[in-house]
Structure formats: structure tokens, C-alpha cells
């Protein structure tokens, strides 16, 4: 598990990360969302011991990363957005180097290399020099490196940057399988579609602060205290007057023969609305709730700052 306690990083004239307080339980896939410059990368770099926090602490599986870095790092797999690999090594040599660097038991290294090479689909490149690999293959090799020692925690900083669509799907499947194996994953991105449907929890960062954090269902429930309803009809209707007069309805936006409004009542009250408007001569074509996406919630939380 990952525990960030009052984590803070100051640079002259800017606070990159401002007293962050996050606990990510085992098996969770936590998406760190925020615009560029929000402090996501700084947070991940502090969590894996690459940066020393100005104050606060980062614990991985109960081990303080900055007091016992080597012990903590045996549980961490780290991948950043843009990186290189050693072109003068072969694929298996690259993984062998990192397996030894993570001090894996000698007898486990060879089978593990074969296993991860298969997981990332590089079997045919086993003995190839890295300089001959495509960008997508190198990225997959990077992922293989990050998981070679079967870390309990994966810290991924924008891992899908620069990947082609197929590699993105492969990455997603790989991370899902790691999640199923019980790994805790902290993944940052400024592209929400990358994380939606994959993360179990999210944290929204802005200007170094965590403005919202928790399980996705909980956040959606907390942030959707009203429902968004969309209706369409035929004929001429004074939508603002008719819908606006219904108790619990606010923010009616009508355009042509369609209107969207917010409704804060219960299910029973919602079910009565079609009958009530029909009684006023409105011929409804459709009536339904619009589900809010994580992206819409993010935009709402972040006060529509540029992503």
C-alpha cells in the first residue's frame, strides 16, 4: 500500500506539492489526474524516492522511502513518460541487468525474464538488440523492466505517452492483470479517457493540492447531488416555464425541441414529471437521466481549468 502523509515539496517561489495526504490500500488502482504542472510527477517522484520531500513522508508497504530507500524500492516498480533504454544491450540482457539490480534470487531470474517477455509480447525479440526495436516495443520493454521483480507497488507517470493505440490496449490489459495479481498501482495522467474504466480510485490534483480523492463511485455520488435530465418533445412548448415550475428542477437550458435541467428530488418525484408535463399538453418524445462521466466531474471540480 501507499501512504503519503503531509507530503510537501517546495521550490523557490512555488509549492509543487502542498501537504498531500493520501492512502491507497493494496490492490487499488489509483489514478492521479490533473493538468500539466499540477504536481503529479513530483508526487510520484517523491513516492519512489527520487526526490526528497521538503516535509512529510512517503511510505510504501509500511517502509519510509526516504529513511530506508533500498528496502522500500524492492517493492516499487517505476515507469516515467519519456525515457530511453540501453541500445547496446539485447532485450534479455536489459531485463537481466535490472533483475540483478533489484537483487532477485539468481534461480528466479531466468524464468521471470521469459515470463515478462511473454507478458509484454516481445518473445520474437528475445535476443534482438534494443536499438532495433520500435518505439512501442521499447515502451513495452520499459514496462517489463518495471515489473521484472514483481513489485507490490507500481508507480507509473503518464505511462501511455507516445504509445500507439494497440500498445495502449496492451498496456491497459497488462496493468489489469497486475491489478488482479494484487499489485497496487498509482498511475498519473492528464488524459482522463486513459484512466476511466480502469482505475478504482482517483485523485484530482491542481496547483500542488489534492482537491478531491477517493473511490470513483463515491466521488460520483458525492458530486452528483442532483441528476441531469434530458427531454425532447414535439410541438411548441415554453420549456423554461413548464419545467422550471416543477419542484426540484433548476438550471433549465432549452434549445429547439430539447431541454436539459437539473433535478434534486427523489425517484418518485422524478417518475411523476412526465405525467405532470403531459397534463400541460407537452407531447414528450424522450425523457431520461444523463449519467455524468469522471471527466465532467473533473471539469467541475477543477473549475474548468485548462487540461
Amino acid at each position: 500500500m501507499i501512504e503519503l502523509q503531509n507530503l510537501r515539496k517546495e521550490y523557490p517561489e512555488v509549492v509543487a506539492v502542498n501537504d498531500l495526504q493520501v492512502t491507497i490500500p493494496p490492490g487499488e488502482v489509483y489514478g492521479l489526474i490533473g493538468p500539466n504542472g499540477a504536481g503529479k510527477t513530483t508526487t510520484i517522484r517523491m513516492a519512489c524516492g527520487l526526490l526528497t520531500p521538503t516535509s512529510g513522508s512517503a511510505k510504501i508497504c509500511g517502509v519510509d522511502v526516504h529513511h530506508e530507500p533500498e528496502r522500500a524500492q524492492s517493492n516499487i516498480g517505476y515507469l516515467s513518460d519519456f525515457f530511453s533504454v540501453y541500445d547496446d544491450l539485447k532485450v534479455w540482457e536489459y531485463l537481466d541487468y535490472f533483475a540483478h539490480a533489484y537483487k532477485m534470487p539468481e534461480q528466479r531470474i531466468k524464468p521471470r525474464i521469459e515470463e515478462v517477455i511473454q507478458q509484454v509480447g516481445l518473445e520474437v525479440k528475445h535476443d534482438a538488440f534494443i536499438k532495433g526495436l520500435s518505439r512501442g516495443m521499447k515502451q513495452r520493454l520499459g514496462i517489463a523492466r518495471a515489473v521484472i521483480h514483481k513489485p507490490k507497488v507500481l508507480l507509473l507517470d503518464e505511462p501511455a505517452s507516445g504509445l500507439d493505440p494497440k500498445s495502449r490496449v496492451d498496456l491497459r490489459n497488462l496493468l489489469l492483470s497486475l491489478r488482479d495479481e494484487g499489485s497496487t498501482v498509482l498511475i498519473s495522467s492528464h488524459i482522463l479517457s486513459e484512466l476511466e474504466g480502469f482505475c478504482t480510485s482517483i485523485g484530482v490534483m491542481e496547483k500542488g493540492r489534492m482537491i478531491c480523492s477517493g473511490r470513483i463511485e463515491q466521488i460520483v455520488a458525492d458530486e452528483t447531488k442532483f441528476r441531469v435530465i434530458r427531454v425532447t418533445w414535439i410541438g411548441e412548448v415554453n420549456a423554461g416555464g413548464i419545467f422550471g415550475a416543477i419542484p426540484g428542477v433548476t438550471d433549465v437550458v432549452a434549445q429547439g425541441k430539447e431541454a436539459i435541467f437539473r433535478f434534486s428530488g427523489g425517484d418518485d418525484a422524478l417518475a411523476e414529471i412526465p405525467g405532470a408535463v403531459a397534463a400541460q399538453g407537452v407531447k414528450l418524445l424522450s425523457f431520461g437521466e444523463v449519467k455524468q462521466t469522471v471527466e465532467e466531474i473533473y471539469l467541475k471540480l477543477s473549475k474548468n481549468e485548462v487540461m
Partner: protein, 503 residues
Amino acid sequence: MANPLLKRFLRAELRGSRLLIAGGISLFLCFLLREAHNEFLGTRNMELRIGRAGDSEDYLFYWFAVLQWIVLPLWCLVSSLHAVTSERQMRTFDFVRTTRLTSRELLVGYLLGPPVLGFVTVGLSIIVAIGIGVREGVPGDVMAINYVELIVASLMIGLLGLLASTLIDKSWIAGVMLVLVFVAFGLTLSAGPQNGTAFPGLFAFSALGVISGRISFEAPLVPIFDQAVPVWVLTLVLYASCAAWTVLGIVRNIKKDRGEVRIFSNLQALGFAIFANIVLIGMLSPTNISAIAHDYAISNAGVDFLVMNTVLLYAVGLTTLAAAERLQVWCRRLRNRWTAVFSTDAPPLLWLTLAAVVGFATYAFIAYSSSEIGALEDWHLDRIALGLATILVYVARDVLFLQWCLATRMRYPLAKGVGLISIYYASALLFSHFWNSPAIPQLPIALREFTPASAFERYDYGDPEWIGMAMQLALAIVFVLLTLRRLGTGPRVETVRSESVAA
């Protein structure tokens, strides 16, 4: 192989094709060297006198030794300077840092791994050279000592390069450092025996000069703590000491983020100052120098001592510069606790002062243990104290200026800071040289007072020069105080606290 990093380099560098090319180049160079040597002998119309004492240049072994002394340290320096820098540029170093490799393993891997092809190339030439040396009758111990020194010197210079590599992230800065370090190393190599100094042991910093004499003559003896030892012993001790301090700096910093690097802790820097001063005491030997140079050497012992302590103070200052981020933490602590002045994150003024005190204590020891120096009026303790205080003010001024450059987080703060200081001193030198007008003879001296040069002069109280010196010293102190105040205030930081939510 226990070190994975070293194993990685061996795998990458020692592939068959590369080995063949390296071996071929090495043997070809050996052939060219032999041809050049033959040509040289022919030009001098001499025959090689195997087994007889002659000039060092007559021996082909010496030619090999000189080339090896150039190639191997240079190869080690280039490789180690780029070892960490290139990984940073490729953005692979973060992955290495998040593995369980210890600082010591990284040090060994980056020191011995990148130049491994150089070891093979030079190693082959060493085998050839030993064969030639045996044929020419070069004593076995001379060859053995030569190669032990070559290896130690190459490792030392490789370590210096690796330390520099942990500090930088741009290849062009590595290139500039390469030139500076190698020029400095070349200068020490070419230094000859010093008769005009009370510290003759300093000659031991030059390894090559020693070798050239040793092939044909007795190995010179140098005094250390009043014991005459062969110069190569002292050379090995000096190089190994230098390497040991460099190892300390590398192990402390290699796994840190570049922005958090501080070469030594305060106590380590102070330890370095104490160690260097003890070495100076050990090398002081006014009785072991020739009679002709004796008076000159004695009268200059104070100047020599001050010059060496100036270098030492700059070294202490530069190795204890606080990283910008840590300096900011220190500023905040300082507002709450005055004891923060002792913190590792503080600007290095306090530790510079302590290093100067160590220097003075060393000199006091020298003066009391050597009646000759202690009796010299020009170099009484009060004069040395004043000289060290003057040097301290100017070194503190320059070091704090560099600290301020770091705190501003400008691009390449140290390179720009050092550049500006160099321009400043070059300007002072030029003004004092060209404005040497007979009408205002005090002017060059007055200008010189902007530099620590005044510490090496003696002025009488009330002289115009004395007044100029006092004024410029006061100005430097004001500059130091203003810089300290600016550093202590720290930058303004956004203080909004987050309303964070725990998951």
C-alpha cells in the same frame, strides 16, 4: 560477477567485434610508437644502450609509459564524466536510482564499467611495453611502480570525473570540465622538483616527472613528517587520499537528485580541511632543502601556506554549497530556531570560518615547532591571522555569491557564477596592470585590494595602501552581510494549505 552495473558495461563494451577493433588499434599504436622511437634515435645518431644508464628518452619503454600516462587517465576521465551525465540525458538514471543498487555499487560500476574498453586497449600496450622494458633492461621494480601509479592515478582522475558527473546534466558542461581537469592534471604531471619551497613534498603530486628520472637515476627522496621516503610512496599516498575524499563525495551524492547534491556535509568538509592541513604540516621541511634555496624557501613559507589555504578554503566553500531547495528549508527553520545556522542546509559561511581557524591552528603549530619560521618577523602569527582573515572574507564573498546564484535557480547557476567571478578577477588584474600610472601609483594597489592578493602583502598602519586595503575589505564584508541577509530572507512562497481528502 557481483556488480550488475559493471556486468552491464562489460556485456555492452566487450563484444567480439569491439574487442578485435580495440586490440588492433592498440597493436597498431605500439607499432607506430616503435617506428617513431627508432626515428628519434636515428635523428640523435645514437644507439640504444641496453642495460646502461642513459636519458629516459632513449628507452622505448619510457615512450610507452608517457603515452599510457596520457591515454589511460584521459580515457577514464572522459568515460566517467559522461557516465552519469549521459544516463541523465537519456532519462535512464531514474530507473537505476530506483533499483536496490547501493551507492557503492553504482560507484564501482560507473568507475570501472564505461572505460573497460580503454583498460583492454592500454592493457595490451602494457604487456608489449613490459616486454620491451625487460629487453631494454629497465628494472622490474621501476616498471611495477610505474604501473601501480598509473592505475591509482587513472582511478583517482576517474573518480574526480565521476564526482563531476553527479553534479552536471549537460554534455557541454562535461566537455568544459574535461578540459579543465585534464589541464590541471597535466600541469601537476609536468611539475618538477621544487627547491624554492618549504613544502618539497608537493612535488609528489607529479607522477610523470618522477618516472622520467627514475628509469635512469635513483628515485628522489622527499620528506614527510621529517622522514625521507621515496617520492613514489608519497605520490601513491597523495593520490589515494585524494581518491578517498572523492569516494566520500560520490557515495554521499550519487543516488540523490541533482538539485539536492551537496558534495560534503559540514563535518566532512571540516575533516577535509583538517586532513589537508595535516598533510601540509607533514610536507613542511625547512631543513631538508638545499642551502641556496633555504632562505628563500623559509621566507616564503608563510606565503606558500596562505596560498594553499586559499585553495583549501575555496574547496571547502564549493563542496558545502547548499542546494537551492534545501536552502529554502533552512530559511524557514532559521526564522524559528537560531540553531539552524549549524544545519547542513545552511550557507557555508560558518564552516568556512572553522576551516580558516583550522588553518591558523596548523600554522601556529608550524611556527612553534619550527623556530626558524616562528622567528621570522614577516610571518608572525598575527600576520598569518590577518592574512587568513582577509582571505576568508574574500572567499566567503565569492562562495556566498555562488550560493546566491544557486538560490536564484537561474539556468547553469554555478557555470554563470564562476564565469562572472572569473571576469571580475581578470578585470582587476587587467586594471592593475594597465593603469599603472606614475601619477597615481596607489591605484593598481587599490584595485588589487578588491582581491585576496592583499593577504600576501605587508602594509604598515596608516599607509595609503593600508587604508585602501581596509576600505576594500570593509566593502567585501558589507557584500558578505548583504548576501547573507538576502539568503536568510529566502524567496516568498505560496502558503495556501490544501484541503486534502484522504482516500
